[in-house]
Amino acid sequence: MKLIVAYIQPERLTAVKQSLFDSNVTKMSVTNALGCGQQMGYTETYRGATVEVNLLKKVRLELAVTDAFVKPAVDAIIKGAKTGQIGDGKIFVLELHECVRIRTGETGEAGVG
């Protein structure tokens, strides 16, 4: 099993969700994040002083998937998130040691799905 963590542009979330659904990945968790990457930030001014903002709003996705689903899931995220512009985001894949469904106590691959 793997845990996929992806940072994407907020406005691509709907598209990513759709393309994950199309790939039969229907379970995921989403968090609000701020990202600092290759994408340049912008400058705010407030009452005459300027402030550099380089933490931009991103969405963080977390998906636990069985190994078979890693490739489809990554591809689906790319499909939904890619615009070709800097700031499109990153995907990280981690080894997932165990997974438990709280309601039933099922573990392992049964817990993921």
Partner: protein, 469 residues
Amino acid sequence: MNRGKKDRSLTTGARDAAAPDEAARPGRASYEPELSGGHGKRWFWGAALGLLAMAAIAPAAMADEVSLEMFTINNTWMLVATFLVFMMHLGFASLEAGMTRAKNTVNILFKNVFIISIGILTYAIIGFSLMYPGEFNGVLGWAGIWLQPGPDDMTAAYDPGFTYWTDFIFQAMFAATAATIVSGAVAERIKLPAFMLFSLIYISTTYPIVGSWQWGGGWLDEGGFYDFAGSTLVHSAGGWAALAGVIVLGPRIGKYVGNTIRPIEGHNMPLATIGVFLLWLGWFGFNGGSVLSADPEEVSLVFVTTALAAAAGVIGAMFTSWTVQQKPDLTMTLNGSLAGLVGITAGADVISPFWAMIVGFIAGIIVVFSVIGLDKAKLDDPVGAISVHLTCGIWGTLAVAFFGGGDLVWQVIGVLACGATYFISAMVFFLILKATIGIRVSENEEIRGLDIDEHGMESYGGFQIFSSR
């Protein structure tokens, strides 16, 4: 000098004697239509309830020359009405900000602060002179640049109801309203400079010129059109321009995807509710001040009709949205109260309380269908400005004929003539702006929010705002 606001040509016998603005306004053709049919309708409810009642009531007649005391109380009431109308601008600011997304809030607030300011200034520079030019050809007049009080204009000789200064400042608060209405409809996508220029031009030319046709004593007034406090002259002025703006701009990104409507939820319902309550409050001055004196009967009647129409608008919209949407939608209900208020504005002094309630209730129903209908037509109006101010503005103007004794033909003429002028001029202004400086922000800016790109700041610094739209 005989400029001054709102010649009232539609009053019942009951109030004629008492209304100082009527009797004492110099240089006004005193046109009094025979409201036989209207009268019958107007008092129908009373009759139905076995009362002949009010038509016979007449307070002690006021002479042409009112006492200094009466002048002072009239003027004081008009100034109270002035600050109430001023509050409507905070109402609009709050409502519009609440019903749009957090990322565009600074922009909306900024526009509202700008509009009330530029509205007052331009009205001082040219608007008041265009709208109340005194004796004129009935279509276009001009009393000169900047404010020009005459020798007697601070006394009852100017008007038994108010001084020249009061007249100006009360009217100035009205003027800015028209542009504020537009602001909500075009929110979240219009370029700031384009909007600022549009408002500037629209409220300093179209609004006062059309206004002069009726309240300045022009051809509409001469003809027999009746619009007590501005369902057409103020609200539809904003509504038509909003419609033009929405057409030229197109919908916000993500609102209409294929054939489905994807609601873009407002970010702050308490703010929207504050806005509506303040607007309702302000309307007591908007309508109550349009009596142009503190005449006890008339002002109190206007308070009653205004409140009943607003209340009935809420109930009408509530039931309609509950039926149509399954659940009672707060924003629709809020729009309902405004719908009722706009609806009664044209006839608040000539429609009886009972019929005022009916007018408001119907307005509340209409506004819900109008919002849904505009969405179906892919006209994206984030706050419902067109439905409230244009749709219900028309309804209110016509309602004067149905329930207040107005002349249906002239009401229709007024709606069409003003509407065409408002819509065409707004369209022309928007198209010129589009062709020159551009009116729509870039896609990137729209997605990131106008606050950052137009103003370089955020409305809720430090708050986590999560939005994937």
